[in-house]
């Protein structure tokens, strides 16, 4: 009898601890400073692609609020001249050094951040590039492995909308929209 009571007490104790842990996972802020943001543009003159591996992303799992911030100068190109033009002529990175997305994961309550799984999500918010903010909506997925959420999303951005002007000489040979891909493994917990 006493042995059974001890066992029940232990089970209750473990359940309570597990409950506290799950609540913590459900309502925590997870982040990374090693997020990967790539952009790709296909055009007759030349394809342009660049990668930035130092994006900062933070997600509040309880509300689905998300922010991704990236340094424009952190984009690495295969060709140095492309990188110089990108920074000096197109994005003017000295004047506007960062691009920031702030938004929310739609229907966040359906995501169980404490269990492994994959969820197709829509993220809505505001994207600021070149000091211009515009509302955007992106399709993506959240993959949870060992309670670590990984956010993957892809969307297109029109250069004209963000006041990014292409010189007339090459205007017809460079794509007016670029595809942006985000891949952030949110493996740090904000204490």
């Amino acid at each position: 009898m006493r042995k059974n009571l001890m066992m029940i007490r232990n089970i209750l104790l473990i359940s309570a601890l597990l409950g506290v842990f799950i609540c913590q996972v459900k309502g925590q802020k997870v982040y990374t400073k090693n997020g990967k943001v790539t952009f790709y543009s296909k055009a007759p003159l030349e394809n342009i692609d660049a990668v930035n591996k130092s994006a900062t992303a933070i997600l509040f799992t309880k509300t689905g609020a998300i922010q991704v911030s990236v340094s424009i100068k952190g984009f690495e190109f295969e060709k140095a001249l492309m990188q110089e033009h990108f920074n000096e002529n197109y994005l003017e990175s000295d004047k506007y050094p960062r691009a920031v997305f702030s938004g929310n994961v739609q229907q966040n309550e359906k995501i169980n951040y404490s269990n492994d799984g994959m969820y197709m999500v829509t993220v809505k918010g505001s994207l600021m590039i070149h000091n211009v903010s515009r509302d955007i909506e992106a399709q993506g997925k959240i993959i949870i492995v060992n309670s670590i959420p990984r956010l993957i999303a892809e969307f297109n951005v029109s250069l004209e909308v963000y006041n990014i002007t292409i010189p007339a000489l090459v205007a017809n040979k460079i794509s007016k929209t670029v595809k942006i891909a985000v891949d952030c493994n949110l493996d740090n917990v904000l204490k």
């Binding site: 591996k53 130092s54 900062t56 952190g74 060709k79 960062r98 493994n185």
Partner: protein
């Protein structure tokens, strides 16, 4: 081509004076050569790769704490000083993170919110480096990211570990 006799007939000197056709030919050849060199320069410039940090002498040599202090004291001045420069930074490894095939090493005092974020070049093997070890690392300064919530970072790209 016309040949012109200079001086008297006994000790005469024969020199070649180009005619109109030869002049045009020389001009075209010179112009073509100029175009060739311009094209070569443009092609070379177009295909130019970003500088290989391994072979470049650093513009600055500094410790992690000194660099962080400079940015925290005056971000504007520090940005002007280090923008696009190659820095050889020395400090203690606070954290090593792997993202796909890329390693990131954070240098700085673990008790401080700020750190130096070194993105290691994909050609580099981080070998036996571990947290708490003192290293020297050379990379291109990219940006200073001031963040009150997550801690500020000084970002260096294409970093090469200095084994010396």
């Amino acid at each position: 081509m016309k040949l012109k006799i200079i001086g008297n007939k006994k000790d005469s000197m024969v020199t070649a004076i180009p005619g109109k056709r030869e002049k045009v030919f020389m001009m075209i050849a010179g112009f073509a050569l100029l175009i060739f060199f311009i094209a070569l320069y443009v092609l070379n410039e177009y295909n130019r790769k970003p500088v290989n940090v391994s072979y470049v002498k650093p513009d600055f040599e500094v410790t992690d704490s000194a660099l962080i202090a400079e940015f925290e004291n005056s971000e504007k001045l520090a940005m002007k000083k280090y923008s696009g420069k190659i820095i050889l930074i020395k400090g203690i490894i606070r954290k090593i993170a792997k993202n796909g095939s890329t390693y990131t090493i954070n240098l700085g005092n673990p008790l401080s919110g700020s750190s130096v974020h070194c993105l290691i070049d994909s050609t580099q093997d981080i070998g036996n480096w571990s947290e708490g070890r003192y290293i020297a690392c050379k990379g291109v300064f990219v940006d200073f990211n001031r963040d009150e919530l997550l801690g500020s970072d000084i970002i260096l790209n294409r970093c090469i570990l200095n084994y010396k």
